[in-house]
Amino acid sequence: MLEIRDLHAEVGGREILRGLDLNLRAGEVHAIMGPNGSGKSTLAQVLAGRDTYGVTAGTVRYQGEDLLPLSPEDRARAGVFLAFQYPVEIPGVSNNYFLRASLNAIRKYQGQEELDAVDFLALVQKKMKLLHMDDALMKRAVNEGFSGGEKKRNEIFQMAVLEPKLAILDETDSGLDIDALKTVAAGVNALRSPDRAILLVTHYQRLLTYIVPDRVHVLAQGRIVKSGGKELALELESKGYQWLEGEQAAVC
C-alpha cells in the first residue's frame, strides 16, 4: 500500500526527515511514535501533499505509483486521508456542503456516481451514529466553535464517510478525554479492513490501548530508529524516549 524509501524532507532550509523508510501493507495498522520535533507531523503532512515541506530525496509509492508528483486533491481522490492534528475552522462553509463536495469529488475521480442529497444524508446519518455525533453538526460551519475533542471526532467522522484506502491519523488522541478517546478509537477500529491501511502518528501510548497496532515504529531525528510489535509502545511508555538515544538504525 505505502512504501517509503530514504525520504528526506525540509522546511525553510532545515532538514526534518533524514532518510525515513517505512512499509505499510493493506490491512495493517502501524503506529509511529516519537518525541516532539522528531518529524512525526512532517511525515503526515508530506504524505498529504503540503507544499510548505520540500522533499529533497527519496521515494514514496502508494499502491505501486509514485505519490509525490500528485497534488493534495489528487492524493485524496486516490484514497489518501489525513486526520489533522489541528483541524482548520472554516466559517461560512457548512459541514454538509463541504463533506458532500468532498465525497463527490472522490467518487467522481474513482469513476463512481455522485451521491444526491438524499443518499448522502442516509450515509451521513449512519456514520454519525458510529461516532455518537449530533445531527445538528452538519449544518454548522466546518469546525467553527468546535471544542478540541469535537474537532478530532469530526476528522474521524469525515474519514468514516470518505472511506479512504490509506488513513494517516496525526495526533488524533491529543485533546481527547477518555470517553471521547474510546468513541474515536471505536470509530477507527470499525474502519479496519483487509483493503485499508492506517498509520497512527502519536506521542503517547494511550491511543494504542484502544487501537492496537500491528507494528510500532519509533521516529527520532527524522529516521525510524526502532520497530517492533505492539509491546514496543508499552516499553517506550515505561522507559521514555531517552531509552532509545544511542540506539542504532532502523529495523523495518
Binding site: 498529504a48 493534495p72 486533491e73 485524496a76 482548520v88 461560512g92 462553509v93 463536495a101 469529488a105 470518505l162
Partner: protein
C-alpha cells in the same frame, strides 16, 4: 474645487445647454432645479485634493461630456435586459416592479399591482402635480453641499416614489431597476432618484438595481432617500451591477424615527469607477440602523464607499459591516465615519471593514474609520482587516479532494457569506450567491 464656469472644457457648456432646455413652466420644480444647478455651478465637481475625495480621482467624470441617450426600441431592449443576470429584479407579472431606462419610466417593462393605500409610482407625474410628498422630500438642505446631489436635483425629472401608510406591512419586496445606456463615443447619463417614505409602524423591502450592458459607457448619478417613521421597518438593497466601463456615483440618505429599524445593503458588483455615499441619521430614540456592504472587484475597478452614521438621539444602535473581495488591479476605498452627537447618550455602535486580497493580485485597499464622539456614555468599536486566503484552510479543503480552484472559490464565498446572510428579502440571498459563485468561478 474646480469651478466649472471657469473650465475651458466643453463639459459645463454641455450641462448648461441641457439645463437651459428643461421646461421651466412648473414654477416650483423649476425653482428647485435652478437652486440646485446654481449650487452645482458654484461648486463644480469634487477634486481629488479635496477632503473626502483624496483616494478617488474623478477626472474621468468631470472632464467628459455625458448626455442622455434615447432608450433603445423595446424589440432590442427586452431580450438584452433578460440576458442580464439581475437577481434583484423580479420579472414575474405579479411583481411590484418599476423600470427606468435612461432616466425615464418604462411602463411596458414595469408591473404595479398596487396594495391598497400604498403609493409605488414614477415621480414624473407627481413632479408635474407638485405633490406634497415631493415638495417635502425632493430637496434636502443638508445635501446642498454635495455637487453630485445638486446635479441630480438640477436634472430631476423622474424616479420612484415608495410611500407606505402608517401600520401597513408589505410582505412582497418592491424592485426598482435603473438601466442606463451609452457608448464610448456617445456617453450616456442618468440621474435616478428614489424616495422611500415608510409610515409609522409600517414595513417594506425595496431592492434597487442600477445596471448597464457590458461595454456601455455612461454615468449614473443616483440619489435615494429613506424616511422611516417611528417603529417602521425598512430593508433596502442596492445592487450595483453597472458595466465595468461605467461611472457610478450614489447617495443614500436615511432618516429614522423612534424605535425604527433600517437595514441598508450595498452590494457593489459592477462599475469601473464608483463612489457610494451613505448618510444615515438616527433621529429618534431607540432606532437601529445596519449598513451591510459587499464589494467584489476585479480588473481595474475602483469602488469608494464613504459612509456616515450619524447618532443624533440617545439609545440608538448602529451596525456597519462592510466586506471587500479584491482581485486584479482593483482599488477599494472605505471611509466609515461615526458621529455621536452630544445628546446621543447610550449609543451602541460597531463598525467593521474586512478585506480579502486575492493572491497574485495587485489590488489595493484603503480603509479609514473616523469616530467623532461628543457624548460621554457610549460604546463605539471599529475594526479593519486586510488579509489573504488562509493557506491552512486551502490545504485542508484540498486534502479532502476539492480542487484548487474550487477550494479558493469556496473560501472567498465563505468570507462573504455573513454579509449575504443578512439579506432577508425572500430568495434574494440565494440568487446573489449564484451571481457571486459565477463571478469567482472566472
Amino acid at each position: 474645487m474646480l469651478a466649472l464656469k471657469d473650465s475651458t472644457t466643453g463639459v459645463f457648456a454641455s450641462y448648461m445647454a441641457r439645463f437651459s432646455g428643461l421646461d421651466p413652466r412648473n414654477a416650483w420644480l423649476h425653482a428647485m432645479r435652478q437652486r440646485a444647478f446654481d449650487r452645482f455651478s458654484e461648486m463644480g465637481f469634487p477634486h481629488h485634493k479635496q477632503e473626502g475625495w483624496r483616494q478617488t480621482n474623478i477626472t474621468a467624470i468631470s472632464q467628459s461630456v455625458f448626455e442622455p441617450r434615447s432608450a433603445p426600441p423595446p424589440a432590442q431592449l427586452v431580450p438584452r435586459l433578460r440576458s442580464l443576470d439581475l437577481p434583484g429584479v423580479d420579472w414575474s407579472p405579479s411583481a411590484l416592479r418599476l423600470v427606468f431606462v435612461n432616466g425615464s419610466f418604462a411602463p411596458g417593462l414595469s408591473a404595479l399591482d398596487l396594495p391598497p393605500g400604498c403609493r409605488i409610482t414614477p415621480l414624473a407625474p407627481l413632479l408635474a402635480a407638485e405633490d406634497a410628498a415631493l415638495v417635502a422630500h425632493a430637496e434636502y438642505a443638508d445635501e446642498r453641499e454635495q455637487a453630485f446631489v445638486a446635479l441630480n436635483t438640477a436634472f430631476l425629472a423622474d424616479g420612484a416614489l415608495v410611500e407606505i401608510p402608517d401600520g401597513i406591512e408589505l410582505a412582497a419586496p418592491i424592485s426598482i431597476l435603473y438601466l442606463t445606456t451609452g457608448s464610448k463615443e456617445e456617453k450616456g447619463i442618468s440621474h435616478p432618484r428614489t424616495i422611500i417614505l415608510a409610515g409609522r409602524a409600517s414595513a417594506v423591502s425595496v431592492v434597487e438595481t442600477v445596471a448597464g450592458f457590458a461595454g456601455d459607457v455612461y454615468l449614473s448619478n443616483s440619489v435615494t432617500s429613506i424616511d422611516a417613521g417611528d417603529d417602521a421597518r425598512v430593508e433596502y438593497v442596492r445592487l450595483q451591477q453597472d458595466s465595468q466601463t461605467a461611472f457610478h456615483v450614489s447617495k443614500l440618505r436615511t432618516r429614522q424615527g423612534r424605535n425604527s429599524r433600517v437595514v441598508a445593503h450595498n452590494i457593489a458588483l459592477g462599475g469601473g469607477l464608483v463612489r457610494n455615499n451613505v448618510h444615515s441619521i438616527l433621529d429618534g430614540e431607540g432606532a437601529e440602523c445596519t449598513l451591510n456592504g459587499l464589494y467584489a472587484l476585479d480588473a481595474t475597478q475602483h469602488v469608494d464607499n464613504s459612509t456616515i452614521l450619524d447618532h443624533a438621539q440617545p439609545l440608538c444602535t448602529s451596525r456597519e459591516y462592510y466586506k471587500g473581495v479584491l482581485d486584479g488591479k482593483s482599488v477599494g476605498v472605505f471611509n466609515g465615519r461615526i458621529i455621536v452627537r452630544q445628546d446621543a447618550q447610550h449609543t451602541d455602535a460597531i463598525q467593521s471593514n474586512k478585506n480579502l486580497l486575492l493572491s497574485g493580485s495587485a489590488a489595493t485597499i484603503s480603509s479609514q474609520p473616523q469616530l467623532e464622539i461628543y457624548a460621554d456614555d457610549v460604546r463605539c468599536t471599529h475594526g479593519a482587516t486586510v488579509g489573504q486566503l488562509d493557506a491552512e484552510a486551502l490545504f485542508y479543503l484540498r486534502s479532502r479532494g476539492l480542487g484548487l480552484d474550487e477550494s479558493r472559490k469556496l473560501l472567498i464565498y465563505a468570507f462573504a457569506a455573513d454579509v449575504l446572510g443578512r439579506v432577508q428579502v425572500p430568495g434574494l440571498r440565494e440568487a446573489l450567491e449564484g451571481v457571486l459563485w459565477q463571478k469567482w468561478a472566472e
